[in-house]
Symmetry: C2
Subunit: 447 residues, 2 copies
């Protein structure tokens, strides 16, 4: 077989983006697809959660009609409907990705990819002889899978995890969620907005530990006051058990919480099943992720890694950027590097939480705080809750980070992403005349 | 009386922003307020229209529940409710503005401002002796009023204009709208979304004449196909008459259209009632607007102008930027100028239309076209309609303009506004890893 220029293992956001980036350079590209194009992101994590969140958002919108003096009878929502929508979105996304890849000339191989040497990838399929793909470059984008423990794992019944959410037989009346990170928070909000009584058990002193403390605190406060979520922090779950129709969660402080269903979202770990450490030396970080440099190159110069397999933050946009940088490095050398500081992270509740850059307290930086209730748009829409926090370097005036909780926060943080990526000082960003009335005016108001 | 540093005539967005900008410099500032703080924008144009649009958006959201397999009985909507909401929003906005101004130390004078000399402003109130305010600088931000003609003007009954929309006794069954510019389009959509059968009669060959032709065409198409709006272009209204409960609109091509109500939004003109040309020479443009330079200075060096009174585009964000630039020039000299090219314009339908910069065809520029139906987010939300068009300078690679019609278009154009304002080339903006899934990904997708 004529060698490929690039073999991509993994068909999630990083894999697709990397394959497309190489194909637009007229490279001979193979992509090895396991679950269906879109990867775990489309098939079991990112996309299903976004459908749940979309339904939750509809229900929240209906409730919010009150602000306008309107009352609407909420429609009945069945698990069948949600399931059908998830299935249909998954199928259509996989189709669109496949079309894009095929139109770009990428060859798709179904199976499991295994790196047998630095220049050979095997495609393994049950009941078939492994296919050998010789190649110049390899991109590893195998993603991540959920972390479980013997006492804390799904039980094919009432203890579930994100991937299993579409299998629920009914919308739970009571749910206990282990984990208050991004995934736990998103699902907790979605269930609460759909009418479930939610308890969150979280291991550390605050939810969304990667987010700015003030922004995370505003989010926690809102989850409790607007959605009646019972939040127990510093109270991580060590075990979940089911007895008949009751799920019990036991926390490390010895407390017990019960509900109809249990939901586990305590973390994710790299999928490293693409190689045998004995065969092929690849450097792995102390947290068990694939070690890559700023060009996304592994310890083997022609093997690159992109996406969750390389560590946190496990965001699709980071994954896609890494893939673009990796392919640019293979093709053009040291021109572009991954700029971790300009990757936005988001929690897609409604309103959402979003952050970019570094928000840790520093002696040589100051924080600017803006509140939504200063905006005309927020008052018209009755979305006055929320805040924007900006970290500004005292010496250079450059923006070091920004975090927001509130309506359109993801879009607002996108603007900061551009500002940080392109070194626009806060004072100058502040001068851009944002549309009026809009939520982006958080950036441009005088007071 | 001790002279003021600045007297601001006009209490709309430009006036408020200018007064605040001066007060934060510890200036002695007077603001002359006519209608209620917020000006015509808050009292009769911008704010009421945004409340209409907010209700229209709620109704559109309910209809869109279909995408999720949900059916919701639309709530009954009365003019009383809408009216009460507009009144309450107006009152609260005026209160907030007043608090901001007072907190900043701005002195508010109720009345009509009149420039009696370059260093003296009179505050005129019926039945009272005019108060004299001596001042170093004057900011004219008196805004604009609607254009009517003897045969084409509101009749205090069924022929109305934006300002009179809250006085409607009922939601019209059929409405004929004269004018397909921004205001005509916004109201036409709002009425259509609330159930009115709408006919738009527009004078030129396309609606939204300031917007990019492809984007405007997509908007026109959507108004017709999704909202059943009857659109007649090149068919401007020359007269409207009411006979009993029927309104007839006569167009310049001699056609006649009838409806229950008529709505006039054919343009706005500067409010120049703040002076007597005999007393005080001020340069006026051929279109009847106050002439100002890039520092917003009039032909009298200590008199500045900001907002609609200075011409098109009549956008609040432009008005506010002009006011900031004017005050910066009074206080600090030539540092900052108005950058017309980075002021976004928007049509607040749902989805909205937005544009920034220059979109006219040019031999030395190319256009990039992106469609919403390539985005995962658009598919999940069922908002796949729409497009983004970017104009890129062939030589420098800089972005010269961008226009969009589709979900979150205003936020997306805000990003371009920052990019244009800060000279970020398209190729580099394109590399920013936008959150996934989001509508901002129109900017960052590979294909």
């Amino acid at each position: 077989m004529k060698p490929f220029d690039l073999v991509v293992i993994g068909d999630g956001p990083a894999g697709i983006e990397g394959a497309l980036a190489a194909a637009t350079r007229h490279w001979r590209v193979a992509l090895i697809s396991g679950l269906g194009i879109g990867g775990r992101a489309a098939m079991s994590s990112l996309l299903p959660s976004k459908v749940w969140l979309a339904y939750a958002q509809r229900m929240a919108q209906l409730k919010h009609m009150r602000h306008f003096g309107l009352t609407v009878k909420p429609p009945s929502l069945s698990m069948d409907l949600l399931r059908a929508q998830i299935t249909s979105q998954k199928q259509h996304a996989a189709q669109r990705y496949r079309q894009k890849l095929e139109a770009a000339g990428v060859q798709i191989f179904e199976g499991k990819g295994f790196v047998s040497s630095t220049e050979m990838v095997e495609v393994i399929r049950e009941g078939a002889v492994a296919e050998q793909l010789p190649t110049r470059y390899i991109l590893l984008s195998t993603g991540s899978g959920p972390v479980f423990f013997p006492e804390l794992k799904p039980n094919k019944d009432r203890i579930i995890a994100p991937k299993l959410s579409p299998t629920l037989p009914e919308l739970p009346k009571r749910m206990v969620v282990a984990g208050g990170g991004v995934t736990g928070s998103e699902y907790a909000w979605a269930f609460a907005a759909l009418g479930t009584e939610v308890t969150i058990l979280h291991g550390t002193m605050r939810m969304l530990p990667r987010m700015d403390p003030d922004v995370a605190a505003a989010f926690e406060q809102w989850m409790q006051s607007h959605y009646g979520v019972a939040l127990h922090k510093n109270n991580g779950v060590v075990a979940m058990q089911q007895e008949d129709n009751l799920v019990r969660a036991l926390t490390f402080s010895g407390e017990e919480y019960e509900a109809d269903y249990g939901f586990i979202a305590i973390g994710r770990k790299a999928d490293l099943s693409f190689y045998e450490p004995g065969n092929l030396p690849l450097q792995i970080t102390s947290e068990g992720f694939l070690q890559v440099n700023k060009f996304c190159q592994t310890s083997q110069p022609n093997i690159y890694g992109a996406g969750d397999v390389t560590g946190v933050p496990m965001m699709a946009n980071r994954a896609m950027m890494q893939a673009r940088v990796a392919v640019a490095h293979m093709a053009e050398g040291d021109a572009t590097t991954v700029r971790q500081k300009s990757v936005a992270e988001a929690v897609y509740t409604d309103p959402p939480v979003a952050q970019v850059g570094d928000m840790s307290p520093d002696l040589d930086a100051s924080f600017v705080l803006k509140r939504y209730d200063g905006l005309l748009k927020a008052h018209i829409l009755g979305e006055t809750e929320g805040l924007l926090k900006v970290k500004v370097d005292s010496k250079t005036g450059l923006i070091r980070g920004a975090a927001a909780f509130g309506a359109h926060a993801v879009d607002i943080i996108s603007i900061f992403q551009v500002a940080i990526h392109h070194n626009i000082p806060w004072r100058r960003l502040h001068m851009v005349p944002m549309p009026h009335p809009s939520m982006s005016e958080l950036i441009s108001t005088v007071l």
